[in-house]
């Protein structure tokens, strides 16, 4: 069992440099297909989930930011 966590946990910075570089490369992101929007677009979408009255009844659902916010 490895003891970690707390204030000394390195988080994302704890990843090996090469692995971080691979994960942040355009080719890897395209392959994984998960990063379909910029941080700003994702932030706008998340903010709308809190403030937009149209999403008041979206409880228990799984939303795809791309379909719900960026393509309409």
């Amino acid at each position: 069992m490895v003891t970690r966590g707390g204030a000394d946990n390195p988080g994302r910075q704890g990843m090996p440099y090469l692995l971080r570089a691979i994960m942040m490369s355009a080719a890897f992101v395209r392959f994984m297909g998960s990063h379909l929007a910029t941080e700003e677009e994702a932030g706008q979408a998340l903010g709308r989930l809190i403030t937009d009255p149209n999403f008041a009844g979206s409880a228990g659902g799984t939303l795809t930011a791309l379909k719900k916010f960026l393509l309409r």
Binding site: V2, R4, G5, N9, G14, G33, E39, G43, L46, I50
Partner: protein, 191 residues
């Protein structure tokens, strides 16, 4: 005015969301971050982008149950606007760990993506004032099995085993851990 708590708000999507919420004068933004220095930097940048924004910092380490309890207590003790929004955004992967890892007070890596947010939400539930929205940010990595399932296949087993890092969950490669934690979080949100 209502308060919205954003976990992992010092960088990435969390910070972008904090900026979005700070632009709305009806919301007080609470940046729930593990690293105080990074949180201070984020708050400064946020106030530069949105002068007059209502925002504050509360320390939160989702890998520590003690920190989560402290956070809930501190939020209650402060005279902030009523809590109307919770954005569960924080997450990360520790690639160096060989299996499930435990912090000093017994919580493990699942805390970062699932259990910490689950505990936090439960501790804050009495402070939520309608209208309330809770948003859980998750990845689709555990769903797209044709591509990603080969790399980070989630493992389905008893949640007790996941909590204690035993049985099926005793030894897992990092990406499988990530996918499994995300799966738990998504199942929790869906239910």
């Amino acid at each position: 005015m209502q308060s919205v708590i954003i976990t992992g708000a010092n960088t990435g999507i969390g910070f972008a969301t904090a900026c979005r919420m700070a632009s709305d004068k009806n919301w007080h933004v609470v940046l729930a971050c593990r690293n105080p220095q990074k949180a201070e930097g984020a708050l400064k940048e946020l106030r530069q982008k949105h002068p007059g924004a209502s925002a504050s910092i509360l320390p939160l380490d989702l890998l520590s149950l003690r920190s989560i309890r402290d956070f809930a207590g501190r939020f209650e003790a402060q005279s902030l606007p009523p809590l109307g929004g919770l954005i569960l955004n924080a997450g990360g992967i520790n690639m160096k760990a060989k299996s499930l890892e435990f912090s000093e007070d017994g919580s493990n890596i699942f805390s970062n993506h699932f259990f910490g947010h689950f505990v936090l939400t439960n501790l804050l539930v009495n402070q939520l004032k309608a209208p309330v929205r809770i948003v859980s940010c998750r990845a689709t990595c555990m769903i797209r099995r044709r591509q990603n399932g080969r790399i980070m296949p989630p493992r389905y087993g008893p949640v007790e085993d996941a909590a204690y890092g035993r049985g099926l969950y005793a030894k897992m490669p990092p990406m499988a851990r990530y996918g499994t934690a995300k799966m738990f979080a998504m199942m929790c949100a869906a239910n």
